[in-house]
């Protein structure tokens, strides 16, 4: 998980990782291959292994829920129409979204949009899942549902998932390895157990910004 204050550069890092932003310096390695050294086809091959959950869902407005999930399958496989629909329905059921196939994104709630976006991201069985603030704009209960879904999918499909968030509940709930970004730099790294005990001032200011977290710390 990558955490940090708003404007610290979390989303920029994520966009660099998936090739949406140009790098000023450094490398982005996928299985030892530097993404930015690859030609268009090389990048395309890696992008087929990437699923991404955007902050606002980024569902295609002109397509229904089912068409949104079918879209990447159509682009990258030669499956028949019924096979594509079956796969889309499987993915939608996996994210606990039923009877929404014919709805358009404008007819969905924030949580439903996120679930459709997850279904679309896993439709072509990616190796890497990137999530940009999956809980933004969601109520606490829906946030937990989305967090758990991301965790389950990561374990079930054995994929590498990177989550950008500033929601400490998510960090405690599903965090494994945590990176704290401060003013664009990798300021701190560790596990969720370590982050609760760290003495790093900037990390503590961020992690224990709320009363709830301060109370939690007093228990350690």
């Amino acid at each position: 998980m990558i955490i940090g204050e708003s404007g610290s550069g979390k989303t920029t890092i994520l966009k660099c990782m998936v090739g949406l932003n140009e790098l000023d310096s450094g490398e982005v390695l996928y299985n030892g291959r530097n993404f930015y050294d690859l030609d268009f086809n090389g990048k395309k091959a890696i992008r087929k292994e990437i699923g991404m959950l955007f902050q606002g869902g980024a569902l295609f407005d002109s397509k229904t829920v089912e068409e949104n999930v079918v879209f990447p399958i159509s682009m990258f496989t030669d499956q028949s129409e019924s096979e594509k629909r079956d796969r889309a329905n499987f993915c939608l059921q996996r994210v606990n979204l039923k009877n929404a196939n014919k709805l358009y994104p404008s007819e969905l709630s924030g949580g439903m949009k996120k679930r459709v976006a997850i279904a679309r991201a896993i439709a072509v069985q990616p190796k890497y899942l990137f999530c940009d603030e999956p809980n933004s704009g969601l109520d606490p209960i829906t946030s937990i549902v989305i967090d758990n879904l991301i965790k389950e999918i990561t374990d079930e499909y054995e994929i590498t998932t990177i989550v950008i968030t500033h929601d400490m509940n998510s960090v405690i709930e599903i965090g494994d390895k945590i990176m704290f970004i401060y003013k664009g730099d990798n300021w701190w790294e560790g596990s969720k157990e370590e982050i609760l005990k760290t003495e790093n001032i900037e990390v503590c200011d961020f992690v224990y910004a709320t009363k709830f977290m301060k109370n939690l710390r007093s228990k350690f």
Binding site: V18, M52, F54, A58, L59, M75, F76
Partner: protein
């Protein structure tokens, strides 16, 4: 623009996209083109009849004026300017909204050449359907002129039909179709470019849309002049 003409990922999907765009941009514009063309033809008829007061000018000249005005300028240029407003703002705002809501990024993440996927079918649809709209406009303009000319009594049906067939040059239609092809490319590509490079939010989408319409309109007028000089001189 080079990326917009990149190799398509899947031809079948691009073919479907082209048909979608023809329906959206082309067939969706038939109504406005029909209304404008009929009224333009009618107004040219009435204005020509009003101005041809000299007994030395035969009445059938009204038909000639309507035919040549519609074919040479009004249908290819004026209708293209109207389409630049209607279709151009639609293209720029659609792609601009997709950009600011990260839908374009979503396409890129999937390994899809977003410029090609979004822009190429619009340009092809415009190139295929714009000439059809222009011919449709020519026909309806002349028909509008005929109906209103005869109904108001400024010209008889025999004189009007004689006028529109008098000294007809097929090359004029070819000239109009060449112009409409060039304008079709401008109508689709310029607003698409401005939409694709939108940055920011809803306000910037509006600005991109305005820029797309203004630049494509100015380019249409500039190329109208250039092509007229090249093809008719």
């Amino acid at each position: 623009m080079k990326r917009a003409f990149g190799k398509p990922e899947k031809l079948a999907i691009y073919r479907d996209r082209i048909f979608e765009e023809i329906n959206l941009l082309g067939i969706g514009s038939l109504g406005i083109v029909a209304i404008i063309s009929v009224f333009m033809g009618a107004v040219i008829t009435l204005q020509s009849a009003f101005n041809f007061e000299s007994p030395l000018i035969p009445v059938y000249a009204v038909g000639v004026a309507v035919r040549d005005s519609m074919i040479l300028e009004f249908s290819p240029a004026i209708v293209s300017l109207i389409l630049a407003g209607k279709v151009g703002s639609s293209i720029a705002s659609e792609i601009g909204t997709m950009r600011v809501t990260e839908q374009v990024d979503a396409l890129e993440i999937m390994g899809i050449n977003s410029a090609s996927y979004l822009i190429f079918p619009k340009i092809i649809a415009s190139l295929l359907f714009n000439p059809v709209l222009i011919v449709f406009s020519m026909f309806l303009g002349v028909l509008g002129g005929y109906i209103f000319g005869v109904l108001t009594g400024v010209v008889t049906d025999y004189e009007f039909i004689y006028g529109i067939t008098y000294d007809f040059r097929p090359y004029n239609v070819i000239y109009a179709l060449i112009k409409s092809g060039v304008f079709a490319f401008i109508i689709a590509s310029v607003p698409a470019y401005h939409g694709y490079y939108t940055q920011g939010g809803a306000l910037e989408v509006g600005r991109s849309s305005t820029r797309g319409v203004v630049y494509s309109s100015v380019l249409i007028l500039a190329f109208d002049l250039i092509l007229t000089q090249l093809l008719l001189s």
